[in-house]
């Protein structure tokens, strides 16, 4: 599309584009330069404020925090996939007594802010019902309920986007409902769904950072802790930058994986044609969950 919007530029357009390019670059560079200037003026580049990176103890603290983040992510990812599968199956069911409650659960948890959900689990349940939920499980269950509901919609959209003939043919061959689902519908739709599922997992990984707010000792929590240590010169800006790099690197790896998979799946041309419509509907289902912490 982008290539059709304009002609191959002539001399005049080239000159104009160059000016715009130079001006744009200048603006971006000016913003970057200003930030770096403030860094220098306020002494944020002082060696003392960066020294903490070399301390082995601190490296272990960060490594442990990273482990906490990843273990919350792994548990939440597995649980939300299971939750999504169960409730998608429930919503697709022909029995009203199954599909109506499943729909209600999915819609409810997609509409609630994740943080409110986590607060209810962590503060509410312990003080209201007397059942203490550790911070780790509050984060994991919160993530499971929210992302599981979004994934349920992704699964449902993926299965409904398949051509109807697929299911009908399977029924005509005398397959049972479960067989139709597991042998015919799921294998086909999973291909289209995989990239979307992975990008939803990026959301799970990003949202583990919410654990910081209920003091689950993950990366951001340790960043706050290290950043307030007077002995180190309270290097909160520096710690925040390092932690940001870690988060972005982890998410980029996951996103990269989903892009790679997408390209792999595209490669077979026969599949690509039907998958395109399917993917669009699947992606739309995910977007409704709200792009992520946005969803997406």
């Amino acid at each position: 599309m982008t290539a059709v919007l304009y002609d191959i530029p002539g001399p005049k357009a080239r000159a104009r584009n160059l000016t715009l390019g130079v001006v744009g670059t200048a603006v971006v560079l000016a913003i970057a330069a200003f930030v770096i200037y403030r860094f220098i003026v306020t002494g944020q580049f002082d060696a003392r404020l960066w020294e903490w990176i070399t301390y082995v103890n601190i490296q272990y603290i960060l490594l442990g925090a990273l482990g906490n983040t990843l273990s919350a992510f792994a548990a939440a990812a597995v649980l939300s996939l299971a939750f999504g599968a169960v409730f998608a199956a429930g919503r697709l069911s022909e029995h009203k007594w199954l599909s109506v409650p499943s729909t209600a659960v999915i819609e409810l948890f997609r509409a609630l802010p994740l943080l409110v959900l986590i607060f209810i689990l962590f503060f509410g349940v312990s003080r209201g019902l007397g059942v203490d939920i550790p911070a780790y499980w509050a984060v994991v269950i919160g993530l499971m309920l929210y992302n599981g509901s979004v994934l349920a919609e992704v699964f449902r959209a993926g299965i409904r986007a398949l051509p109807r003939g697929q299911g009908e043919a399977a029924y005509a061959l005398g397959m049972r409902k479960t067989q139709v689902m597991t042998n015919v519908l799921l294998p086909q739709s999973l291909r289209a769904m995989l990239p979307t599922i992975l990008s939803q997992l990026v959301v799970v990984l990003k949202d583990t950072a919410l654990g910081y707010i209920i003091l689950y000792p993950e990366l951001l929590y340790q960043a706050r802790f290290l950043g307030s240590q007077g002995q180190l010169g309270a290097p909160i800006l520096q710690v925040a930058m390092v932690v940001a790099v870690i988060y972005i690197a982890m998410c980029l790896i996951l996103s990269g994986l989903s892009k790679l998979l997408e390209r792999r799946l595209r490669r077979s041309p026969r599949a690509a044609a039907t998958e395109e419509t399917e993917e669009r509907e699947v992606a739309a289902a995910q977007a409704q969950g709200g792009g992520g912490t946005f969803g997406d």
């Binding site: 599309m1 982008t2 059709v4 919007l5 304009y6 002609d7 357009a13 584009n17 715009l20 390019g21 744009g24 670059t25 971006v28 403030r38 860094f39 003026v41 306020t42 944020q44 409810l108 509409a111 609630l112 802010p113 943080l115 409110v116 959900l117 607060f119 209810i120 503060f123 509410g124 003080r127 209201g128 990026v202 990003k206 949202d207 950072a209 919410l210 910081y212 707010i213 951001l220 706050r224 950043g227 909160i236 800006l237 925040a240 930058m241 932690v243 940001a244 988060y247 972005i248 998410c251 996103s255 739309a284 977007a287 409704q288 709200g290 792009g291 992520g292 912490t293 946005f294 997406d296």
Partner: protein, 215 residues
Amino acid sequence: MNVLFDNLPLYGVGFLGTIELFVVAAIGSLILGTILAAMRVSPIPVLRSFGTVYVNTIRNTPLTLVLFFFAFAYPRLEIADISFFWRASIGLILYTSAFVCEVVRSGVNTVPVGQAEASRALGFTFGQTMGQVVLPQAIRSVVPPLTNTMIALLKNTTIAAGFSVIEAGGIYANLSERGYNVFVGLLWVALGFLILVVPLTLLQRNLDRRWSPSR
């Protein structure tokens, strides 16, 4: 019930804060997001790559981290002393605009190529092609997902409550100080969000149903 009626002003202030934050961040991110989208489809390679880098970085950063940065690290740069509310707004704008950009850009991409080709053939310039042919058609496929982005933004404002912005997400802390039942109090907060989010969701589905089959 008591928890709600005894603390009605608290809930009022909280949800008012949520709505204020939402409106400011929504307007800001729509503007910045559209600018970014324009950069990403523009004929100038430098601007295109700036847009791409920005979007890819921000989309892979947790919002909590962005707000963390503005709450604790930003003051160290001593640029300007702005309130928590505005810092949270800036964080939300920077974060949400990356998602708005992607929605607008993919909306532009859904317009059939023939439309742009035809207007190019008629001698329209880039500005005319975009303004009179592509964008009016793109709006149909942009508005429903954009509503989704805005719903997500509304929900995301709660995270600002974790960084001392007065906001519905922070109501529980006040309640527990006053010795009320936090569980019930939080359920009311959840209900409040349902009341805010459900109409938007219904609007989004309605738009989606009415507009998308036309292509």
